[in-house]
């Protein structure tokens, strides 16, 4: 008999062929060589010129391909992020995908009243704790731009609040070279020193260049700070099709990638071999409402394309989004858009996937939405593992036993079922499959209410690993020092 066994194919999405991938890359290089970029940071400009870039009129600088290619060579192919206890948490490379929340929502859906209201610092705490308690959320972002802290130090307060309420890796925002240094101080406290932090980083900075092709002073300060201190960073720009970039997706990707390559080049010049997460944000500007969409298929498509370019050309881990929506409440639209982006991000093997739980094109955050997305990620992970085919899963013995077992013999009772069902099936926790009567008797809750209940349960029951008092006191001091 032939061995009943085969390697498992893990379903995977591919959206570009080789020629398309290289054509977009070549276009990005052409943008840098012909149009160039506006580099507004003196130090960064000098670094680029020293490396072989040419300055042209009005503060523009043109980058030959050779300069950019060097950076692509020296940037690491893998970024390891640890949790705040120093355990391995995210190995960002090749096909590994991790989901987490987004940053600065202006509003949030109140867990008690369901109302959309201005975010406060307590919301940052709640989202961080929720992420900590959800199995499929791998990293925390603030999900709030709080109204109740001093504006000049907003990102320092927010970072400290995430540290107090989660052990998972943190993706953080900063305004400039000033607050990022304070945030770094806090991180060093958590990791017991900078050396440890460099060895086992638990944080990644999210900064942005300005499409089209503009690199402001404060953004470059952050980039250089991260390169020098080996804090992992990503630098996507707002190359949204029809907004900061051409309306056609190929052009939007070309300019977004060009901007990323400039960021990467400066970064590698400032800290050769420092970790850089690659990738632009290529959503679309909606042609009716003029919002930048967080639920459109185009963003999912461009990041799937970027994953293909990673495999074909760059080899660097990539930045992505999923699990967000343009819907104003957590309704069917929110579910549909969230699932679309979650499953395609995983199928295309994006690496660090943020913005989970956003509603209203990134203006509003929702604890329920994050809770729902956690389950959708589980569903997608189940799907992308594929179908293992071997002696055990083909289950010929079980078939023989049950089919030949006479009347009343059922698979449900067979040992094979007992032994395999937990892995062989996706077992939903929130998606409701109960029979009508029991669903009705239990209160006829829809998914929004189920997620609300679950989010409340996690927030009241989940224990976040405590940090030493001394560390917490130091963090307070740094935050208040202003």
């Amino acid at each position: 008999m032939k061995a009943l066994k085969a390697d498992t194919f893990e379903p995977r999405l591919k959206v570009l062929n080789r020629d398309q991938a290289w054509a977009i890359h070549e276009a990005a290089l052409e943008i840098l060589g012909k149009t160039g970029v506006r580099m507004e940071h003196r130090g960064a400009l000098e670094m680029l010129l020293d490396a072989g870039a040419e300055s042209s009129e009005g503060g523009w600088v043109k980058l030959p391909a050779s300069v950019v290619e060097k950076a692509l060579e020296s940037a690491p192919r893998q970024i390891d992020l640890y949790d705040q206890q120093g355990n391995e948490a995210m190995c960002l490379t090749n096909g590994n995908a991790y989901y987490g929340t987004g940053s600065d929502a202006t509003f949030t859906l109140d867990l008690e009243s369901g109302e959309r209201r201005r975010t406060v610092l307590k919301d940052v705490a709640n989202f961080a704790r929720l992420v900590d308690g959800l199995e499929n959320m791998s990293f925390a972002m603030s999900m709030a731009n709080p109204d109740d802290v001093p504006v000049e130090s907003i990102y320092v307060y927010v970072f400290a609040e995430m540290v107090r309420n989660s052990s998972k890796p943190i993706v953080f925002i900063a305004d400039s070279g000033n607050d990022i240094a304070r945030i770094h101080d806090i991180a060093c406290q958590v990791a017991s020193g900078e050396e440890n932090l460099q060895r086992k980083p638990f944080l990644l900075n999210y900064s942005e260049a300005i499409s089209p092709l503009r690199f402001p002073q404060n953004v470059m300060e952050k980039l250089i700070f991260c390169a020098e201190h080996r804090v992992p960073i990503c630098l996507p720009s707002g190359s949204n099709a029809g907004g900061g970039a051409p309306v056609t997706l190929a052009g939007a990707m070309a300019i977004g990638i060009a901007e990323n390559l400039v960021g990467l080049t400066v970064h590698q010049l400032a800290g050769k071999g420092a970790p850089f997460l690659f990738g632009p944000n290529c959503s679309v500007l909606d042609m009716k409402s003029t919002v930048v969409s967080y639920g459109c298929p185009e963003w999912s498509l461009t990041q799937a394309a970027l994953a293909d370019m990673r495999d074909e050309i760059y080899g660097l881990p990539i930045w992505a989004f999923a699990g967000a929506s343009d819907a104003k409440v957590m309704d069917a639209q929110a579910g549909a858009e969230a699932m679309f982006s979650i499953v395609t991000a995983l199928l295309s093997r994006a690496n660090l996937i943020h913005d989970v739980g956003f509603l209203e094109y990134g203006n509003t955050s929702s604890l329920e939405m994050v809770t729902m997305a956690d389950e959708l990620v589980a569903m997608s992970r189940f799907f992308t593992r594929g179908i293992p085919v071997n002696q055990e899963t083909l289950a010929l013995d079980a078939i023989q036993r049950v089919a030949g077992g006479g009347p009343g013999s059922i698979f449900l009772l067979d040992d094979h079922t007992f032994e395999h069902f937990m892995k062989a099936q996706f077992l939903p926790r929130l998606l409701d499959r109960s029979r009508y009567d029991s669903w009705n008797e239990a209160g006829a809750a829809d998914l929004y209410r189920a997620c609300n209940t679950e989010a409340r349960r996690i927030l009241s029951e989940h224990q976040v690993a405590a940090k030493p008092d001394g560390v917490l006191a130091e963090i307070d001091r740094i935050v208040k020092a202003g």
């Binding site: 600065d104 202006t106 731009n145 503009r214 402001p216 707002g238 042609m287 409402s289 003029t290």
Partner: protein, 216 residues
């Protein structure tokens, strides 16, 4: 009342060549530049704006119409005499200090221009002092400020205060907008109007200057 049907259609479609030709022949037929502007160009743009607001056409179509209209307006310029009302008003626009988002602001500027306003765009990261200096220089009817970050919204209040201190506040109307901005916030900091998108920016601007649609 003159017949501007062909011109109007060309503008609606964004057919620049045709619209320019129609404008030329209207001028040759002896129709006054003022009539062409008001009854032909601006009236059509108002209709286009309405159709956009109702969701019947998309932004690029509306902007193309605006561009078409501007090409036609250029032809009219030499015919205007001093004292002719060619602009609905002067608007000074800028994204406030610390803020680098400009797509929304640019869109608002383009829409206002399409509706017949004249725009001076100060760009992004505009400090209160610059607003003050430029208000002195340009003497606008309206100052428009954009902020996309909650952290830069206070710069709107700072700018209003700076205008106050410079004794210029009463000379201009102030209109603000951007994703985190609200009507309430506008009231709180003493702005005269808030617009949630480019379409409402035009409506608010007209209201501020007491431009009644029936007069157009």
């Amino acid at each position: 009342m003159n017949d501007f049907k062909a011109l109007s259609e060309a503008i609606s479609k964004g057919d620049i060549n045709k619209a320019v030709a129609e404008t030329k022949s209207a001028l040759e037929a002896g129709i006054s530049a003022q009539d062409i502007l008001n009854q032909g160009l601006i009236a059509t743009m108002n209709e286009v704006g309405d159709r956009y607001s109702k969701g019947l056409i998309f932004v690029p179509q509306m902007l193309r119409s605006a561009k078409t209209m501007q090409e036609c307006t250029k032809l009219l310029k030499p015919y205007f005499q001093e004292g002719d009302v060619v602009s609905k008003g002067q608007v000074l626009m800028g994204t406030v200090r610390g803020d680098l988002h400009d797509i929304g602001k640019n869109l608002v500027s383009m829409m206002l221009e399409g509706a017949g306003f004249t725009i001076t765009d100060l760009g992004v990261d505009v400090a209160p002092e610059i607003f003050v200096e430029k208000v002195r220089e340009v003497e606008p009817d309206i100052v428009g400020m954009s902020a996309l970050l909650s952290t830069t919204m206070p710069a709107m209040a700072d700018t209003i205060e700076a205008l106050q201190k410079a004794g210029l506040r009463k000379k201009v109307k102030i209109m603000i907008g951007g994703a985190p901005v609200t009507e309430r916030y506008a009231q709180k900091i003493g702005a005269d109007a808030y617009g949630s998108d480019a379409g409402s920016a035009v409506t608010r601007a007209k209201e501020l200057l007491g431009i009644d649609r029936s007069e157009e």
